[in-house]
């Protein structure tokens, strides 16, 4: 044998060390029937998890490193960024997460909780690191990070590390089983707000909208080919108070065309609350304008 270092063994040993260290970064959040999901130990008394997979409950049992079972209370949830926050009754020794920058092709170590106080690990590449995006619920996610790993449901919500050990974000499922990460930057932005208010303030009109094509006969008057049709109106919400009814087709809000939905989402950030808005819409073949005041979204 030669004295050459065996790179494969070194690589493997390095991963083993990282996976072992990850034990302190994860907890198992117990669900019913012996199942669990993973939470990230964000601060000594704060655990973050994937909002979409966390049951609507106020109190959870979590299994920390070594197998200690602790109580955690729900402190806030934000479906728009898929971040939920739990507060631990007993603080843990928290790891410090150094934020990392996702790059396409970089190695990613995806960790989860095994439910017994240990960690599970998966290795893959960052399949795609892209620009910021808006979720279906209108939340801003700082980067698109797609991972080329499989993920078990019990591992969802665990930290994703890069080769230097920096934290790229929290693992979660995108559409069609795609595994993505909610970037550390998004966690850093949302968690303090959840800690303070328990939710993320967003502007609210009280309508459910669906994109439709503007009928041919009205295209010229409307001056656009698509709009957002009102599918339902929340009783006594700002839209209802402004007289908006199901079937109206919203063409613009404060001059911003509804032709692209993403742009509209940006009009309803925390600063929009209390602002007056003019809504241009089609009703019974006529284009009309109504005035409304953007309210604060009620807790989901």
């Amino acid at each position: 044998m030669t004295d050459q270092p065996d790179f494969l063994a070194q690589f493997s040993n390095a991963l083993v060390a990282r996976a072992d260290a990850a034990k302190n970064a994860v907890v198992a959040i117990r669900l019913s029937h012996g199942r669990h999901i993973t939470g990230m130990v964000w601060r000594s008394d704060i655990v973050v998890a994937s909002e979409q997979s966390l049951p609507q409950k106020d109190e959870f049992e979590v299994v920390a490193a070594g197998g200690a079972v602790l109580t955690a209370k729900l402190a806030g949830r934000d479906p728009s960024t898929n971040i939920a926050m739990l507060r631990l009754a007993t603080p843990l020794a928290a790891p410090s997460f150094v934020p990392g920058e996702a790059r396409t092709g970089a190695v990613a170590l995806v960790t989860g909780a095994d439910g017994l106080g240990g960690a599970s690990a998966r290795l893959g590449l960052i399949n795609l690191a892209g620009a910021e995006w808006h979720s279906m619920r209108g939340g801003l996610i700082d980067r698109r990070i797609v991972l080329d790993v499989d993920l078990a449901h019990r591992e969802e919500g665990g930290p994703v590390f890069d080769a230097s050990g920096a934290c790229l974000g929290m693992s979660t499922f995108g559409p069609r089983g795609q595994v993505i990460a909610i970037p550390t930057a998004t966690l850093e932005r949302i968690v303090p707000q959840l800690a303070k208010d328990g939710h993320i303030a967003r502007g609210w009109l009280g309508v459910a909208l669906h994109a439709v094509a503007v009928p041919d006969a009205l295209r010229e008057t409307a001056d656009q080919s698509s709009g957002l049709m009102v599918m339902s109106v929340v009783e006594a919400g700002p839209a209802a108070q402004a007289g908006i009814v199901a079937g109206d087709i919203i063409l613009s809000v404060d001059g911003t065309s509804t032709h692209r939905m993403r742009r509209i989402g940006r009009l309803f950030g925390p600063d929009s609350i209390g602002r007056k808005a003019e809504i241009r819409l089609i009703r019974s073949g006529q284009v009309i304008a109504v005035q409304t005041t953007i309210a604060e979204r009620r807790a989901a």
Partner: protein, 187 residues
Amino acid sequence: MSEAAIRLEPAPRLRVVVCAAESSRRSALGRVVAEAGHLVVDVQDAADVVLADGEVPRDESRPVVMLGGADRDRPGMLPRQADAGQIDAAIRAVAAGLIVRVPEATESGFGAMGETDAQALLTPRELDVLAALAEGMTNKAIARRLSISLHTVKFHLESLFRKLGARTRTEAVVKAAERRRRETINL
């Protein structure tokens, strides 16, 4: 008889149990099963497949084709408004040990705000036609409800199928529902 001739024999008639809470639904599904050439049998009889509308007995161990419902572990999963062709295909597939899923019914995750291509957006009138389709209405009934001609109904249907990339009425309803689920925004 030669071995080749034996191989060419058609698949045997399948024995199918039909479970549905409403008796009208049960008889309608029974008709679909019988017209597809299968034999409708009682729940306690020996059967190859169970066709269940929404709910199925917990201890049912035979292969089940579910129409709607939340039980996701059954071999056959169809939407409640599946048509006769889909039900027959699912019964045969499940009896043959295969798994049946509608592609659109895959599990959802945390996704981006969807935006349908502008050319594929439906018009308010097409949405009206679609709502009638979802209720299982015939073209004639749709024409009556919307006070339009049969010709216009067909015109809207063609446009709907093209925009949704659907080949059947059921597929159009399922695809539109999936689109609505993905793309409805709450403001």
